[in-house]
Symmetry: C2
Subunit: 207 residues, 2 copies
Amino acid sequence: MAKQSKPLIALRKEPVQARSQDTVDTILEASAQILQKEGEAALTTNRIAAHAGFSIGTLYQYFPNREAILSAMATREQAHILKKLEAVFATLDPTDPEPTVREAVAALLGAFRGRHGVRRAIILGVMRRMPDDPRASAGVAEPLLTALESRCAGHFVPLGEAGRFVLLRAIAGAVRAAAIERSPLLGKPAFEDALVRLVMGMLLGGR
Amino acid sequence: MAKQSKPLIALRKEPVQARSQDTVDTILEASAQILQKEGEAALTTNRIAAHAGFSIGTLYQYFPNREAILSAMATREQAHILKKLEAVFATLDPTDPEPTVREAVAALLGAFRGRHGVRRAIILGVMRRMPDDPRASAGVAEPLLTALESRCAGHFVPLGEAGRFVLLRAIAGAVRAAAIERSPLLGKPAFEDALVRLVMGMLLGGR
DNA sequence: CTCAATATCTGAGGATTGCTCGGCTTTCTC
DNA sequence: GAGAAAGCCGAGCAATCCTCAGATATTGAG
């Protein structure tokens, strides 16, 4: 009795066979295409399923709700960015950190080029999940910042918890705002310069 | 013929009689209460109308859609904050700007205390409108920043357009993130310190 | 005060959309 | 190749946004 009151929900998880992994990928790609070509309003679950070539029921086998689709797209994007940042920080020269900071900023901005329609929806999706999902916040990059601080000890005034929080969210806020507002600054070198100035100014203690 | 194809839309504007002004206020207050007590999911247009004691049709006389209600709440909040900031900047001492910056930060943070459930929804509503409504972005505070720069000429390295954009969105990003994530930092002095450090560091040129 | 013009309010219901569930098909395992 | 497990299907329910045709309230000129 009560055979599948749980399983039905739990089934909405990771696919196991290769076929279903493809299904999930197809659904996410279809979502991205709809977002890019027709905008957020057109991103209905039925439309996604149709565009992906699956039944609506299949979609809901993997995603518990519409929001989860955006969430999954965001998670992939975020992992991609984090990986690039980690690669950059691996080359850090503790004597002269500014080039690394600049490189990291450039990498971050690089990830925000193209597919503006998709990115906008992803950002808003991320923010909607923020209080619930700790991974949704800019805090994921905190280990990188901590590493930067400890390896460059002596060069900077320590940030403390609040300082790290503010710096990470400040960067995210500036970049996300540029993306959402579709600011032409996004592509310009002056924008990169300003972000570097923001980071270095904060690290140096505002004095 | 074609008597009211336009008027019907145009009617969704400002109320003229005192009675309808009250209606709009009541609707906004009801929305705030629902948000605070029952969360965003409960904020349906029919529920708002019922809670405000009006028919759903009345609500749609003034607000073209659900989104517009959040937008109106955001506009009021924003005007309130901007007014407070203007008052702070009126007392600026060009010789020693840091106290004014600190005061402005404190004022901004003060506006983010209490009614967390409401604020979260407002912030997300603002961001959703960002590309369309220029007033929705942090750019509304740009005149204040420009004034600060010109009155303190010589103390700071000029920011330029990109610098101003980044600084304003960075502050907004940090504060909004704290609010949305319900971070306990929001109330702590260390958070204020970190924001001041962010601003001063950026103004001083990151060098 | 009267009454017509104007402003405001009403609420049933059309159109859409998110999502469920019982059952069918494909793939895996032994 | 047979049974089990994984994957897929899609009609339709419930919830929601929003419209529209007309009722009610207010105003102000005469």
